[in-house]
Symmetry: C2
Subunit: 296 residues, 2 copies
C-alpha cells in the first residue's frame, strides 16, 4: 500500500546486515512480527519480492540488490540530516549502552550526565555486565556502544582507546601488619568475576606465586569487593582510582606484594556500520569523561 517509508528502508537494511528478521527486530528494538510486517509492506509497495526466504541464509533478489543500494543512500542522507540540521537538544532516540562495572563505578555517571546534557531527549538504556557479554551483545547489535576491556577485534567494530586503570593491592586497615606483604596473598583474594581477563590473569599469577593454596573469590560487583576487603575477608587488586577513596577514609590500605596485574585497558567500541552520529558522539564523550576522571 501507499508509499515507501524511511522506517521500511531502515528495517530492510537491518534485516540484510544482521541476516534475519529476528536479528533485525533486536537491533531495532521491535518484535519479530513488527519487522516481518514492515518487510511485507515494503515488498508489497515495491511489487516484487526483494529477498528469497532460503532458510539459513537469506538471499537478495536482483531487485533487492537494487533496493539495497538505494536504501544505503537513504540511510547515509538521513544520518547527515540528523547530524547537521536537527538541534541536538531535540534529538530523540535510544542509546543502548553497555559498560563494565569498573567504568560504572568510575565515570559512567559523568558520561551519562554529559550525554543527557547534550541530548536531553535521548533515552539511555544502561547495561552493566562483564566484557565478554558486552562484546557479544555489541556484535549482536543488542547494544549500540560498549565500554569494555577491549579492543573488540572485528573488522566491523570501531574501537576508541581509553586511558587505562592501574590496579593496586588493598588490605583492610584492620588486618594484622605482615612482615612480608607477600604473605597477604595467602589470604583470600577478592577479584573480578570469572570469565574476565583480570580474573584469568590473577588466577595464573596467583597459582604461580602462592601455589594451590591460593583462594580466589570472584565477584561481579567491585563495590562488594571493597566492602569485603574493608571487612577484612581478604585482599584484592582493584583500580587505584576507586581505592583511593576508601584509603582516604582509612578503612583500607594499599600494600605492595612485588607484582601487579597489568593495567585495565578499556575501549569505547561500536559498530562502524550503520554510521550513527549519536553513537559516535557518545564514544568520544566517553573518552572525554575518562580523561577528566584520570585528571581528577
Amino acid at each position: 500500500m501507499s508509499r515507501i517509508t524511511l522506517d521500511q528502508l531502515k528495517t530492510f537494511l537491518y534485516i540484510v546486515r544482521l541476516g534475519g528478521v529476528g536479528k533485525a527486530a533486536a537491533g531495532l528494538n521491535l518484535t519479530q512480527p513488527a519487522v516481518s510486517t514492515r518487510l511485507r509492506n515494503l515488498e508489497q509497495t515495491i511489487g516484487a519480492p526483494i529477498l528469497e526466504r532460503a532458510e539459513g541464509s537469506l538471499q537478495l533478489t536482483k531487485r533487492g540488490e537494487l533496493l539495497l543500494s538505494y536504501a544505503e543512500r537513504f540511510e547515509q542522507l538521513s544520518g547527515l540530516l540528523e547530524r547537521d540540521v536537527i538541534v541536538p537538544q531535540e534529538l530523540e532516540g535510544h542509546l543502548r549502552l553497555g559498560v563494565s562495572e569498573t567504568i560504572a563505578q568510575c565515570w559512567l555517571s559523568d558520561l551519562i550526565t554529559r550525554l543527557h546534557g547534550q541530548f536531553p531527549k535521548l533515552e539511555i538504556e544502561l547495561n552493566v555486565d562483564i566484557s565478554i557479554n558486552l562484546r557479544t551483545a555489541l556484535l549482536n547489535r543488542s547494544i549500540d556502544l560498549a565500554i569494555l576491556l577491549g579492543p573488540v577485534s572485528e573488522y566491523s567494530v570501531e574501537n576508541i582507546d581509553l586511558p587505562g586503570f592501574d590496579l593496586a593491592w588493598y588490605v583492610s586497615s584492620k588486618a594484622d601488619p605482615a612482615s612480608d606483604p607477600r604473605d597477604y596473598l595467602k589470604r583470600p583474594v577478592l577479584t573480578y568475576a570469572r570469565q574476565t581477563r583480570p580474573y584469568r590473569e590473577m588466577k595464573e599469577r596467583l597459582f604461580e606465586l602462592v601455589g594451590a593454596d591460593a583462594r580466589m573469590f570472584p565477584s561481579s560487583s567491585l563495590s562488594t569487593c571493597f566492602r569485603l576487603v574493608e571487612d577484612n575477608l581478604g585482599v584484592a587488586a582493584l583500580p587505584r582510582a576507586l581505592g583511593a577513596d576508601h584509603v582516604a577514609r582509612g578503612t583500607i590500605r594499599e600494600f605492595d606484594p612485588g607484582w601487579h596485574l597489568r593495567p585495565l585497558v578499556f575501549t569505547a567500541s561500536y559498530m562502524a556500520e550503520p554510521k550513527n552520529h549519536v553513537v559516535e558522539t557518545a564514544a568520544t564523550e566517553a573518552l572525554t569523561s575518562a580523561l577528566a576522571f584520570q585528571g581528577a
Copy 2:
C-alpha cells in the same frame, strides 16, 4: 516527536516551492490544516523554526535553507527509487490530468487505456476544460499534466509538442447546396468556447470576411457542435479527425470557403519541478497516443 518522514520533507518542499501552506495543500491533495500540522511536526522534530511566517512572503530560516538542500536530495533519491525499483504495475498514486475537449474527443481514452495498462494502480483524475483554465490549473499545481493548446511559456513548464489537428468546415447534409461555399459563412458559425484561441481567431477572420452580420455560437462541447451542425443549425470549423466519422455516416459534409483556421497545436505540459517519473511517462505516452491517432 519521533522521526522525520519523507512525507514531511515533501510537504516542506511543496510549501517552499508553491509559496504557502494552502498552495502546498492543493498540490498535495490535502487540506490546509493537514499541511499545517505536518509542518509543525517537522519543526518540532528539527527543534527549531524553519520558516518565518512573514505574511505575504514566507522566508526560510538559516536552518530551513539547510533542510531544504537535504529535502531536495531526498526528493531526488525518492524519484529515482520509484523509477528504478518499484514495478510499474504496483506503483500507486494520483495523476491529475487536464485535457482540452478536442483531445478528450480524439485520443484521450486511448491515452488513459495506455496509462492504466502501464500503471494499473494509478488513480487518474480527469479534468476537461478550456486551455486557459488548464494553464492556470497547471501553474497552480492543481493538475499534474495538461494537454492543451500550448505551449505554456513559463520557464518552469516542460512542453512536449503534439501533432496538430487540421480544422475543416462542415455543414449539414440537409443544407441547401450553395452556389458559393463562402455563403455558408453567413449562417451561424458554431465554434469553440469563448476564451479559446480558435474562438478568437475565428471571430477576427469572420468579422473581416462577413462583417457585422457574422453570428457565432461558441460551445464548450465539440460533440454538441457536431450535433448542431447535423441538425443544420449552422456551420462549423472543427477537427477533420472528428468530422470524418460524421461525414462517413453522411450526416454532414465538408465544404471549402477558401480559408481555414490554423491547425490546432497541442502540447503535453507539466511542471519541470518536482521531477516526477509518472508525469513524464504520461506526457510521452500522450505523444504516442497522438501519433497513433494521427496515423489511423
